[in-house]
């Protein structure tokens, strides 16, 4: 008998008529690693909340069908018992931690279920050791990094010893290193401790191969499920679904008999072609980031040094020129100075030494507000921009603020960003991707010549990333220079022209994306790692498919000639 059984589950949130879940049927065995994939608003989070008992007991709303846990309907299980069977980890660590100190946060759940002090002390010791938190038990939560906070949230749940761990995009707010650590922990918990894991995750390349079962959601429906990643990859390619990792997309996209789930498996498959270097692959034309300090630079950074008031030197001798039509992705580890550089470009940070010339003006002599019509800035969280009751007013706000005419411009922006149907809707009620489009429309309404974006792909699914990438390319074609910070190397490989690598406040290297990403061991996308030493300059899924097809063809020719 299945450990978790979802039987004809349909659900709609209070005061809404549309179904967030539509007749879901699924069975999950104890100890399985289940990956739930789907776009923003597909019902992934709602399904996870139904499994953890939050729907309908906490959210109320209209619910038909039942979720069974070990044969018992979840909605009828006492909350205290349920929290000891199913633990739920949410997206944002900041929004789920409630106590001030690490130790108190870990014991919070145990206190709620009334465990005796002796048992709590034992479990705190166990769980803190297992998750590597022993050294920071007396630290304030506010002093921890995002990854550590998510570990504390996980520890708090694990201390209640649940047999099922439900995770709703647990790494979406984390940097790649912290995300990798959390996913490794989750894998370990599944493999070594036998905990059933049900996870919704956007970084499919990190957990696609771990899944025992993959559920694909779309508009509230469970559109496909299979135990084999290969079958899911084939289904996704056939149905034009973006929810498979780039590696699987390459192989399934050319109908290759095998679909690898990891780079290692992929390279083993390609191993047989290693002697057939593909001579027919047309190497992409190189776009170069050069000609610094030319007259045409719309943004010119000369010998820039910057220190924060606490004395931390964040930028060291930066020289950079940005020209119309540039699309540069800035990469580097946390604390490398990426965000500081972006803020120096639009005048939020004034140079300590050297200068930044933006739109022909020295940023030391003009205010951020004066530069804002020429330099658009999009922060990590679109929510930081939105406060007006309708999409239309939000776009109007920027124009009115800058003293520009709104006549026709707002309509044009809404049209361009496919927002016309939402003109009179509160932007905060829209999905993640739509919110981001509203912010972009409001920022770009003043037609800035440079657009600065701080990690805009964080938390976006493949489909939304594709939309954003295409949107940026369109802007770029019209001459807007795009400077963006990203940890997402697959996105950078797919859309950027140039890459800039920063470390400890300095630009370590810069160049076109082929030069920067295909010759790096760590800063390279999955596709590049797959074809490393087999074919140079392969970064994108399309390029990967071309090379694989060429390799397959040349192998066939070779076989025939023999």
């Amino acid at each position: 008998m299945a450990y978790i059984k979802i039987e004809d589950l349909s659900y709609s949130y209070p005061e809404t008529e549309s179904l967030a879940l539509d007749n879901i049927k699924a069975e999950i065995q104890a100890g399985e690693f289940v990956l739930v994939v789907g776009g923003s608003g597909s019902g992934k989070s709602t399904l996870l909340r139904a499994i953890s008992g939050l729907i309908p007991n906490y959210y109320k709303g209209s619910c038909n069908g039942t979720v069974y846990l070990d044969g018992k309907p979840v909605r009828n299980i006492d909350r205290r018992q349920l929290s000891q069977k199913v633990g739920m980890l949410f997206q944002n660590p900041e929004s789920q931690l409630v106590m001030t100190g690490v130790e108190r946060e870990i014991v919070f759940g145990m206190e709620n279920i009334g465990l005796p002090n002796k048992l709590m002390r034992r479990r705190v010791a166990e769980v803190s050791t297992a998750l590597g938190l022993s050294g920071c038990m007396r630290t304030a939560v506010s002093a921890l990094s995002g990854g550590q906070k998510q570990k504390v949230a996980l520890a708090s749940i694990l201390a209640m010893q649940p047999s099922v761990l439900v995770l709703d995009e647990p790494t979406s707010q984390l940097d790649p290193v912290a995300a990798e650590e959390i996913l490794n922990m989750i894998r370990h918990l599944n493999e070594e401790n036998g905990i059933t894991v049900i996870i919704a995750e956007q970084r499919l390349e990190r957990c696609f191969h771990l899944a025992d079962r993959i559920l694909v959601m779309d508009r509230g429906k469970l559109v496909y499920q299979d135990r084999k990643p290969k079958a899911v990859a084939r289904w996704a390619v056939k149905n034009n679904s973006p929810f498979i990792p780039p590696l699987a997309r390459v192989f399934a996209g050319v109908n290759y008999p095998q679909v690898p789930a990891t780079v290692k498996e992929g390279r083993q498959i390609l191993g047989s072609y290693s002697n057939n270097k593909c001579s027919r692959y047309e190497h992409p034309e190189e776009a170069k980031l050069e000609n610094f300090n030319k007259e045409k630079n719309i943004l010119d950074i000369q010998k820039l040094w910057f220190s924060y008031p606490n004395g931390k030197e964040a930028l060291k001798n930066i020289n950079l020129g940005v020209q119309a039509g540039d699309f540069v992705v800035i990469i580097g580890d946390n604390g490398a100075g990426k965000s500081t550089l972006l803020k120096a470009m639009n005048g939020l940070h004034k140079p300590g030494k050297g200068k930044v010339i933006a739109a022909g003006r020295d940023t030391r002599k003009v205010s951020v507000e004066q530069l804002s019509p020429y330099i658009g800035y999009l922060s990590q969280d679109p929510g930081d921009h939105l406060f007006l009751p309708t999409v239309r007013e939000e776009i109007d706000f920027t124009l009115k603020n800058l003293g520009l005419s709104t006549k026709g411009v707002t309509e044009e922006m809404m049209e361009q960003f496919h927002l016309t149907p939402y003109a009179d809707i509160n932007p905060r009620d829209l999905s993640t991707g739509e919110r981001q489009r509203v912010v972009l429309a409001s920022v770009l309404a003043s037609k800035p010549s440079v657009l600065l974006l701080d990690e805009p792909t964080r938390g976006l699914d493949y489909s939304l990333k594709e939309q954003l990438g295409n949107l940026l390319l369109r802007l770029n074609e019209h001459g807007t220079a795009v400077m963006m910070i990203s940890h997402d190397l697959d996105f950078a490989a797919e859309y950027a022209k140039n890459i800039l690598l920063m470390s400890e406040g300095s630009i370590i290297a810069s160049g076109n994306k082929y030069e920067m990403l295909s010759n790096s061991t760590f800063y390279s996308p999955q596709i590049s790692k797959l074809f490393s030493n087999i074919e140079d300059d392969v970064l994108t899924v399309e390029e990967g498919k071309k090379v694989l097809l060429n390799l397959m063809e040349s192998n066939e020719v070779k076989a025939l000639s023999l």
Partner: protein, 304 residues
């Protein structure tokens, strides 16, 4: 956010209840005593404990603020308190009509009050830097878990909201919202977007926190209270000495030994009062004395 930072000495290892009793005892006696020698003794005792706990640097910051306040108190009291008989200085504000007399008694009273203020601020410094706020919440949790949760949430959310405010203000400035406008009403009006976003983001966060509380069975029935603090010999020794000293202090006040009359003429300092004040001060340095032994003889650590 926390001012508290754990250090490796005995004072940090005392049970939080012991330290709370210490802080309360000093605070109460600072209120009860008016004799400057007794007050100086208390200030000295708190100072020794703060220095022994390794927080001299932090105390200096508090003292700087205290000295400014003390000068202000002394000056105001000397200039505007007409009491006292020993006139040191007479200032003719409006010659023939209004003059200010600075008396020795008013000056001394201002000094006495300044010492009291310094004790209270120093004991607050000790509380801030030496007692882990989480441990306090742990102790209070036994008496009212909802109130403790509210305190905890506020403590957590306050720095988060400050960070949110800074970030949102930057974002809105990049949209052309001007906070440096010359007109104050424009500046206030331009704060509206920031406050709106801050409010909306906080509401969204509170909804998510409520969900997290529910998922972790908060409010599902009676709670237990986690405690890993152990009562050790060091706590009993400290508590016994402090309680005796506290009672002795109250007794000296009852007997009138630790009270002092500044007006109309300053009382004389008696030897036996000074000796009693010294003994009391010595008693309140017990955490520092134990810490000294703890540092000097490592084998003593497990014994006490």
């Amino acid at each position: 956010m926390y001012s508290y930072q754990e250090r490796d000495n005995l004072i940090y290892q005392l049970h939080p209840a012991t330290m709370i009793v210490f802080v309360m005892a000093i605070f109460i006696l600072a209120m009860v005593f008016s004799h400057p020698v007794y007050l100086l003794g208390l200030l000295l005792a708190v100072g020794i404990v703060i220095v022994a706990s390794g927080n001299f640097g932090n105390w200096k910051t508090y003292l700087r603020f205290c000295l400014m306040m003390a000068l202000f108190i002394i000056l105001i009291n000397a200039l505007f308190s007409p009491a006292g008989t020993t006139v040191l200085l007479e200032l003719q504000v409006i010659p023939g009509f209004y003059s200010i007399q600075v008396t020795k008694e008013a000056l001394a009273y201002g000094m006495g009050m300044s010492i009291r203020l310094m004790i209270i601020i120093s004991v607050f410094c000790l509380y801030t830097y030496v007692i882990n706020p989480d441990k306090i919440l742990g102790i209070l949790g036994r008496f009212g878990n909802k109130s403790v949760l509210v305190i905890s949430l506020c403590t957590r959310l306050f720095p988060l909201m400050i960070e949110d405010y800074k970030r949102i203000a930057e974002v809105q400035r990049c949209r052309g919202v001007n906070y440096q406008s010359a007109k104050w009403w424009d500046r206030i009006r331009n704060l509206l977007p920031v406050c709106s976003v801050l409010l909306l983001s906080s509401l969204e966060r509170s909804m998510q926190q409520a969900e997290s509380l529910y998922a972790r069975a908060y409010g599902s029935g009676s709670r237990t209270c986690y405690n890993r603090e152990i009562w050790r010999l060091r706590d009993y020794l400290t508590l016994i000495v402090i309680v005796i000293a506290m009672l002795a202090g109250v007794w000296t006040a009852w007997m009138g030994w630790s009270t002092y009359n500044y007006y109309p003429k300053l009382n004389e300092f008696l030897i036996n009062e000074t000796v009693t004040a010294f003994i009391l001060s010595l008693a309140f340095t017990v955490p520092a004395i134990l810490n000294w032994g703890w540092m000097k003889w490592p084998t003593l650590r497990s014994k006490i």
